[in-house]
């Protein structure tokens, strides 16, 4: 109940954000312009419309998650509004969860709006969407949850600007690791190889949750993959939220 109340407040607060509306408007415009991009190469229209549509949806979600997530708890601490909440009999983890779900639902609603707009748009311009497309969207939501949770962790140990930078790096690194895996074969120095392997194994791999390619070509995704990758994402989200709770509870408030 406490978590829901905090989530509701966070949802209201983030929904009022004007930047979200501007970004949302831009993403809708980008979706509507996908057809124009594909016009240059009519035979690849289906692929390009889907690629650019997913790009718009992902871009909006990631930017929103990074910038809102980095400010989420920091603002409460900075403006000392957190005292009004923690003076009540609630646990710190409840506060963290409330904040997380509040922001998640806020982004979720905006993203859902984008996905629905894109789906209707595809129906109008007669571009078939495969099941893989919808799975790709589900995993984009999961990625965004990961970014929100990690940015909450960063916001507890640094300023919003640094936190946003770290979160962005987290996102980039999450994909770059895919390349690192291939590079590992080429590294000859045993120490360098070991360090790279440790980095690879420790860091969360966002590219696991990436099904954009399958969506673009309408390739099937095995159910077992979906289950394991989904679990992988959820476990990481829980881990980051847990870390955020610990960090918040260690703060002397």
């Amino acid at each position: 109940m406490v978590v829901i109340s905090i989530a509701k407040n966070t949802f209201k607060e983030t929904s009022r954000n004007k930047i979200s509306l501007v970004l949302l408007g831009l993403s809708v415009a980008a979706i509507l312009l996908t057809k124009a991009v594909a016009y240059v190469s009519p035979e690849t229209e289906q692929k390009m419309v889907i690629d650019f549509g997913i790009f718009a949806i992902t871009f909006f979600g990631v930017i929103m998650a990074i910038f809102n997530g980095s400010n989420l708890i920091y603002k409460e601490l900075d403006k000392r509004t957190i005292y009004t909440v923690i003076s009540k009999p609630i646990d710190r983890y409840q506060f963290v969860l409330g904040k997380f779900f509040g922001l998640f639902f806020s982004i979720c609603i905006n993203l859902s709006f984008l996905v629905i707009t894109f789906t209707i748009y595809c129906l109008i311009i007669q571009i078939p969407l495969s099941l893989s497309f919808f799975w790709a969207i589900v995993f984009i939501f999961l990625q965004i949850c990961m970014i929100i949770s990690v940015s909450m962790v960063f916001s507890l140990v640094s300023t919003p600007l640094l936190s946003a930078t770290f979160s962005l790096m987290f996102y980039i690194l999450g994909y770059w690791l895919e390349g690192l895996k291939e590079l590992l074969i080429l590294i000859e120095n045993p120490i360098g190889k070991k360090i790279s392997e440790i980095i690879y194994n420790i860091m969360p791999k966002l590219f696991y949750l990436d099904y954009k390619y399958q969506a673009s070509h309408g390739l099937p995704i095995p159910t077992t993959d979906l289950i394991y990758v989904g679990l992988y994402g959820i476990v990481y989200i829980c881990l980051f939220l847990f870390l955020a709770s610990i960090l918040l509870s260690r703060k002397e408030l």
Binding site: V37, S41, D51, G179, Y213
Partner: protein, 398 residues
Amino acid sequence: MKFARNFKRLLIFVVLISGVIYTQNYIEANAIKKKEMLYFVPKKEHLAYTNFGFKSVVADLLWLRGVSYFMFHLNKDNDYKYLAGMFEASVVLDPKFKQVYRDSMTLLLSDKEHYGEAEKILQYGLGHFPQDWELNYMAGVLYAFYLHDDEKSLRHFEKSWGSIPRTNERKGELETITTMIRAITEKKSDQNGLILYWKNKHDNQHNKESKEYCASQIRKYASRYMEEKLNEIHLSQMSNEEKNIKFNEVVAAFKGFYLNHNLGEFINVSIDELFGKTDAFGYPWVYSDRKSKLYSFGIAQEYLSRKIAIFNVKLWEKLQSYLSISVIDLVNYNPQERIKYVKLKPEYKEFPSWEEIYSEKDDWLNLEVPLFPFYDRNRGVFLVPEFDDLKKIDNKYK
């Protein structure tokens, strides 16, 4: 006072806007035109590690950039040195981007310098779509016409032939591929070699239509084999008796070849009942009297000429229903003057168009192509051909 202040603000605003418009016009008119277009094609390996999950989008952008780059240089300097790099990077990021493999062939092959790059991209594509009929077809074309490697070309055409869907939609493409296979195989083999090639192909096919196609090729080459041999004999200076002996030798050799390679099932006659004979006009033929039918592999030239003559007479029979003069009467006039007598009957407003005649679809009208040399499109009339004219028909119509 207030008016003066507002006026000053408006003035500053107008001056600033004018400055923007002026400078923008200057830049547009001069600087941009003179500016060399700079191209940066990142290395494909770097792109693979720095796309941050947007491989597909980056591949799309590179593809679009490549197309616009090509269009920009087309008919200007025709210099496409970065084109292959853009396409290569695009397919490395998105190996299933089939359009790039297809179109990069078309674009890169516009310049001899890029044949090797086109081959590299296409081979990369074939690595990801080994059974794709379209890519194999393109590879076949690339090797046949650009890189002049018949072995590779044939290999890809054969793959394409094997995997192309046997639907009405793809009928045209299938015919083109088979024509290409035929052309290449004919280049590198004699009639017997070609028969064996198609026999081998026939045995490896599972599709009924493909098997039938191979069988038809075997029949065709068998027929051609006989035509060539018979022509040889016909044109020789041997006596009729000697010719008869020679025919029987040819037929015996033909039978032997067929029996040795189990080809008997591919021709509609019993191979044991074949025999050679000259007809009343002294033309050599091969006969078989199985099921009371007479099958012949005659001299193609004469045979076709006869068919065309019959065809044209039949056509005139049809056309003369529109004309005020019969064909028989028309033939009596000087060929140069015939056209004067070809008039439409009063009940017809105009001479039937080619399409109208073509649409009849009668059996004897299916052979419409040889008619063209006798159809005067400008005047919309058919000329009556002489038998000698028929002999002059270009080989391509046969």
